[in-house]
């Protein structure tokens, strides 16, 4: 029902979310634990963290180490609102859609279709390759360090086995086509790296000289591949063949992760003075739609009253029936007692 609400209601909802974001004293990013020199070693959480850093958003990190198979992690808490990873396309899409922070809105000259196609490539081909490397190609010690080191070992082993099976199903890998699938995955990953390398060229960011969400997504992927995967990793070897991608990764890693812990001191401000300004909030136009929810609420109240009355009626009937049965049952039991007495005399 929320999805079918008219657009002005969504606009008012976006304004409400943005207001909550501004009012929140401190945002909290709930992610998985840090490892391998990264603030979070989870390949799903790292892009979100980098995106918040690129937006110069101050936030705290809370580590969740007991729910490795949760699809709602990472999520961002602001006030009483939460942006979950399994809602509205993910945390980054949620923040963009709710007009909270949107890196792409500072690029009127960048082609939207270019950004979208590049993002789709990163989120499919590269994501699949990374999943394959993490769960199927390695010996399991890396997933254990990232996800299961704080769980008791039987639970960790069961969840690891379960996740491995899920990834196989997701990538369509069976015993028969394992070799072909592996070759296909690496082929696509290499093609993606080649395309991204061509797109990047000598620039600091993938599109012009300002970051977009694609930069956060790809940077997360690249940092994971270069820092977490072992030297024997095929994917890592593929990535290291493209010098500009490696330099891109190292450069931004220094800026975003090795600077002062307070991310407001990042060097992004010097490269783009306009990034410090927050997006202008749209005026709320939901006033004219208020009568409809009120009518709904009134009906709900009537329904509640009716249900309460029905509940009382049914309960009263049940009690009456039980009372009748109890009285009749009492008479029957006394007769049975008499019969027992007769048997005893015999």
């Amino acid at each position: 029902s929320k999805e079918s609400s008219p657009l002005p209601a969504m606009a008012s909802a976006a304004a409400a979310a943005a207001a909550e974001w501004e009012e929140a004293e401190r945002k909290v990013l709930v992610a998985r634990k840090a490892a391998f020199g990264l603030p979070t070693a989870c390949p799903t959480c790292l892009p979100v963290l980098l995106y918040l850093r690129m937006c110069n958003v101050p936030f705290d990190i809370h580590v969740d180490s007991s729910f490795p198979d949760a699809d709602h992690i990472p999520y961002v808490e602001f006030g009483e609102c939460v942006a979950f990873n399994n809602e509205k396309g993910g945390v980054i899409e949620y923040l963009k859609e709710e007009k909270i922070v949107d890196l792409n809105s500072k690029h009127p000259s960048v082609s939207y279709s270019d950004v979208l196609s590049t993002k789709a490539m990163v989120m499919t081909w590269l994501s699949d390759a990374l999943q394959y490397e993490l769960w199927l190609a390695s010996d399991g010690s890396i997933p254990h360090d990232i996800y299961f080191s704080d769980l008791s070992w039987p639970i960790g082993k069961i969840l690891y086995w379960k996740k491995t099976r899920e990834v196989k199903q997701q990538l369509g890998i069976t015993k028969l086509n394992a070799a072909e699938k592996e070759e296909e995955i690496y082929q696509k990953a290499n093609a993606a790296y080649d395309a991204l390398s061509t797109r990047l060229g000598d620039q600091i960011f993938l599109f012009d000289n300002s970051p977009t969400d694609v930069d956060a997504l790809f940077l997360g992927h690249a940092l994971f591949v270069l820092n977490v995967l072992p030297d024997t990793s095929v994917l890592r070897s593929c990535l290291q063949k493209y010098d500009n991608l490696v330099n891109f990764t190292k450069h931004l890693k220094v800026q975003l992760l090795e600077a002062d812990s307070d991310s407001s001191a990042t060097g992004l401000g010097s490269t783009d003075p306009s990034s410090s300004s927050t997006p202008r909030k749209r005026a709320s136009s939901g006033r004219s739609y208020k009568p409809k929810p009120r009518a709904k609420k009134e009906r709900t109240e009537e329904e509640k009253k009716f249900r309460r009355k029905a509940k009382y009626f049914l309960a009263t009937q049940l009690v009456a029936v039980l009372l009748f049965l109890s009285l009749m049952g009492g008479a029957d039991s006394s007769e049975l007692d008499d019969e027992d007495g007769v048997d005893y005399e015999d």
């Binding site: 929320k2 609400s5 209601a9 969504m10 008012s12 909802a13 976006a14 304004a15 409400a16 979310a17 909550e20 709930v30 809370h62 969740d64 180490s65 007991s66 729910f67 490795p68 949760a70 709602h72 808490e77 006030g79 009483e80 609102c81 939460v82 979950f84 399994n86 809602e87 709710e98 704080d150 769980l151 008791s152 070992w153 039987p154 639970i155 969840l159 709320s284 939901g286 208020k290 929810p293 009120r294 609420k297 009382y312 309960a315 009690v319 039980l322 009372l323 049965l325 109890s326 009285l327 049952g329 009492g330 006394s334």
Partner: protein
């Protein structure tokens, strides 16, 4: 608690059945001897034989006659291991020095074998010993094994608040391997909250261990979405280590997963979602000297439950949990009235480095509220008449979804009840007969009650803010009157509750409330 309550009626039934069987056996023996007397020839011989028999009986009944058991012969056990039966009865029979003692021990042995619940009938007869050894006897134990080793049962039970009914069924396989083992598979489905599937085995006696051993594997899920915005799934093994009348020691190894399919949980609940391994030892000490489970009018009851978690490794849940429950019933002498009072106290303490700043696990905390009768159940910490289940205590706002909050008239997202690390609850209940005789005959009676309780959070450093005076000042309480209808299916209570005191976010409601509980 339900398990303990279940066992008591069964034990009583077993004892009654054993007593009845013994009486029947005695009658049977007398009839046999009379027939023998009738068959004798000649009036003079008849008179002489009768005198002899009477003399023997007089001697047996008045004077102790020494006897020695030469052998214990077991017949009829096609499947059951002979050593099982021998372990149960042989030593008991051999220890009898006189005929009177032997007869008494034989009846005890018969009761023991029936208690195994795997035999249809047990007969113990005394036979003459070998001729070269006068004064000896052979005891013949003849058992008839259960023809059908499968028994099943099903029932419909109701839980508090009259919204939760559960359908339960179980199937038992008896004596599958000849050790008196009982295997059972059971399932329970509740419309609202809980569903469970379990498989268990119990051994009444294994080699030289005299206490029964039990093991059970179960898979259950509990739905607390309405109260605390989480759903709990448990996959567990439990082992009964010691189980006597008053002591119960068990070990549990449970994989517990908390999820929130609705994604509206509050911050504290969100931090607790995930997987945990619960490795806990639980000890329960219980005395129930009240004269009735349904309507106690005299006696007292005491329950102490201690639980230590974190025995597997340091990554599982580590806590210590203690619960006390004291009850008393005093008859008042008019209208068959009685005053029942009870007090329950519980506390949970997380263990580990910096334990006072750690968080206790949400499912292990204490919750108050619900309409089940505080008089009958011996775990009064979970009941507070007039309040909804989990309806009091610390709360936290749920997740705010902005599309709803923009409209000024929309409802707030609600709150999660988090439970407490310290819980205290008390009640006083005055039960009395109603004037009409037809009500008294049916067992319908009235009661007036007063209940109170409070929860406090102590973990995560909150103990610093805890003050006893404030805890006492914020006690929730309710009072009321009601009618109780004990039926064969369940116990019905119709109560009018008046909320005397409640806090801002409590779910107490003044008015008529119904409660249905199992007659355990």
């Amino acid at each position: 608690m339900a398990t303990a309550a279940d066992q008591n009626p069964n034990d009583a039934e077993h004892r009654e059945a054993a007593a009845g069987a013994n009486a029947a056996a005695e009658e049977y023996e007398e009839e046999d001897e009379e027939e023998e007397e009738v068959e004798l020839d000649g009036p003079a011989a008849v008179a002489a034989e009768r005198e002899k028999v009477q003399a023997v009986f007089k001697r047996l009944s008045s004077d102790p006659v020494g006897i020695r058991v030469h052998d214990v012969i077991i017949k009829g056990n096609a499947k059951t291991k002979e050593e099982l039966i021998e372990a149960e009865v042989a030593e008991l029979l051999r220890a009898a020095p006189t005929v009177q003692d032997l007869l008494r021990n034989a009846s005890i042995a018969s009761a023991r074998l029936r208690q195994l619940d795997v035999f249809d009938s047990v007969n113990i007869t005394l036979d003459a010993g070998p001729p070269e050894l006068p004064g000896t006897t052979n005891v013949v134990v003849e058992v008839v094994e259960a023809a059908n080793p499968i028994t099943g049962s099903a029932g419909v039970y109701s839980k508090p608040e009259a919204r939760s009914w559960s359908l339960e069924g179980s199937v038992k396989l008896k004596n599958l391997f000849g050790y008196g083992d009982i295997w059972d598979a059971s399932g329970a489905y509740s419309w609202d909250q809980t569903s469970e599937v379990g498989i268990g085995v119990s051994l009444p006696r294994f080699k030289s261990i005299s206490t029964p051993l039990m093991a059970r594997a179960s898979l259950s899920s509990q739905d607390w979405l309405k109260f605390s915005s989480y759903k709990e799934r448990l996959l567990g093994l439990s082992f009964g280590l010691i189980s006597t009348m008053q002591h119960d020691l068990s070990y549990n190894l449970t994989w517990r997963t908390l999820t929130d399919p609705s994604q509206v949980s509050s911050k504290s609940i969100r931090r607790q979602l995930g997987h945990n391994l619960l490795s806990a030892l639980k000890y329960t000490y219980k005395i129930d000297q009240r004269n009735s489970h349904l309507r106690p009018t005299k006696g007292y009851a005491f329950l102490s439950t201690s639980q230590v978690g974190g025995l597997w490794d340091s990554k599982g849940l580590r806590f210590f949990r203690q619960e006390f429950d004291v009850r008393g019933a005093v008859p008042l002498g008019f209208y068959n009235s009685a005053l029942n009072v009870g007090l329950g106290v519980g506390a949970i303490l997380p263990l580990g480095r910096g334990f006072m700043n750690l968080s206790s696990s949400v499912p292990d905390r204490f919750y108050l509220g619900g309409h089940s009768s505080p008089v009958c159940s011996l775990s009064g910490l979970s009941s507070l008449l007039g309040f909804r289940t989990r309806g009091i205590g610390p709360t936290e706002p749920r997740r705010l979804v902005p599309s709803e909050s923009e409209d000024g008239s929309a409802a707030s997202p609600g709150r999660d009840y988090l439970g407490g690390d310290l819980a205290v609850s008390a009640f006083a209940d005055l039960s009395f007969d109603l004037p009409l005789k037809i009500f008294r005959d049916a067992g319908i009676h009235g009661h007036a009650f007063l209940t109170a309780g409070n929860l406090a959070k102590l973990s995560e450093g909150e103990y610093k803010k805890f003050s006893l005076s404030e805890f006492g000042r914020t006690f929730r309480s309710s009072a009321g009157v009601g009618i109780i209808l004990p039926t064969k299916l369940f116990r019905v209570e119709v109560n009018y509750c008046y909320i005397l005191k409640q806090a801002e976010h409590d779910s107490g409601r003044t008015g008529i409330q119904f409660s249905f509980s199992s007659p355990l």
